[in-house]
């Protein structure tokens, strides 16, 4: 086995083109477990943990770009204008894991339980891929195509993710057996887009990949419209509409039975998370007086 130690993105992409089988290693929180347990013996490792190009993020013209190498700890400390992303990052592993683990690694692993992924899905994020020849940009759902399956090419690296900043409340929540160090049994990100008067709901750990609850999103947007709640945050939303929304989110899940939970439990958990996330969002709107 070889370890390739590029100092710049350009060098890294040349190395990747010359050795397409080289496995990128960023925080190593997924890769090292596989190495330590002999589950994987790549011919080479490509250390991308020190590439400055991956470690940056920026906000520009209503868009945010998040470099693949930004760690969860840095998100929690610096990206406070994105509460859902911060909440998801804070639930990842432990301080030790958050100091190393990156969103690029979460995308690279593409587990349906990856905690950053429902947030990126709710943000309608695009994944930016790069090779020695240039860049391409894919919507998140065209990048992640199945459990642990992405369309990344052998000569490509993930440069980062980018999304249009949405004005309105949002949250990430997850169900698991503990408050820390836990793989989600079900997770949910909900956003209200005040500008376009739309709702976004993304689900993790309850399908082969991240799912958007499109039918529930449209139902709630309409219900808020009919209640007049988009115009006035103090307007109550009928409890029946909240229940119907939660039920439709549950129906959007495509869960399986596994060691972490049964399909029926997961569907139920999605509905509970949906109801709670909605009540937090409606409360936030009241407090901030968002029109």
């Amino acid at each position: 086995m070889d370890v390739l130690l590029p100092r710049t993105l350009e060098e890294a992409l040349e190395m990747k083109a010359a050795a397409p089988a080289a496995l990128p290693i960023a925080g190593g929180t997924d890769v090292m477990v596989e190495l330590n347990f002999d589950r994987r013996r790549p011919s080479a490792l490509l250390d991308i943990s020190r590439l400055p190009e991956l470690g940056m993020w920026r906000k520009q013209d209503g868009t945010c770009f998040l470099g693949a190498g930004v760690t969860y700890s840095r998100i929690v400390n610096h990206l406070t204008m994105f509460p859902a992303l911060v909440q998801a990052s804070r639930t990842v592993g432990s301080p030790q894991i958050r100091n190393r683990g990156t969103v690029g690694g979460n995308l690279g692993t593409a587990s349906p339980a990856g905690d950053a992924l429902p947030v990126l899905a709710a943000y309608d994020a695009e994944v930016v891929l790069v090779n020695a020849g240039g860049r391409r940009t894919l919507p998140w759902h065209q990048f992640m195509v199945g459990p642990k399956k992405t369309v990344i090419g052998p000569d490509e690296l993930i440069l980062g993710a980018q999304w249009k900043i949405v004005r309105g409340p949002g949250s990430f929540s997850k169900v698991g057996t503990r408050n820390a160090m836990v793989i989600a049994v079900a997770s949910l990100c909900l956003l209200l887009d005040e500008e376009n008067r739309t709702v976004r709901v993304a689900l993790g750990s309850v399908g082969p990949t991240i799912l958007r609850a499109v039918d529930a999103e449209q139902f709630l947007a309409r219900a808020l419209q009919e209640a007049g709640a988009w115009d006035d945050a103090r307007t109550p939303v009928p409890p029946a509409a909240v229940e119907e929304f939660a039920g439709r989110v549950g129906q959007a899940a495509r869960p399986i039975d596994d060691v972490r939970g049964s399909a029926a439990y997961r569907r139920h958990a999605c509905a509970v998370l949906a109801r709670r996330a909605l009540s937090w969002a409606l409360n936030d709107r009241k407090l901030t007086g968002t029109r």
Partner: protein
Amino acid sequence: MLVRVKVNGESREADVWPGTSLLSMLRDHLGLVGSKNACEQGECGSCSLWLDGELVCACLVLAAQAGGRDVRTVESLAPGDRLHPVQDAFVEAGAVQCGFCTPGLIVAAADLLQRDPTPGDETIREALAGNLCRCTGYQKIIDAVKIAAQRMHP
């Protein structure tokens, strides 16, 4: 491959297999066995140390990734014959039973107290969530962190 790392202020090097973790390099090649190896999958925190000042699990860092960087292990906390205040507090509170989790917990607790000198219960629990202890039931560990906080910032 040859990896050179600054460990506790001293430049050290070892000829390691390229897939070696920083933990294995420290323990098996450099004879620094303070950082413990229990799970090798980031779950238990007994290998906690500082890499360029950040708390990490050494079992999840590739040795080569630490090349040229600054590593501080539990051994750095008590270089002479005086214990670090966090170590003293663990002894005093009875927060050590078999002791296997202790080095990792001491490093994690010292890391927390650097960032937050007066942490509350919730903060302590969240900061130590990545360190498992099979013996103490954690309460005495939390007591120890509070004792250390008081001593360090009276």
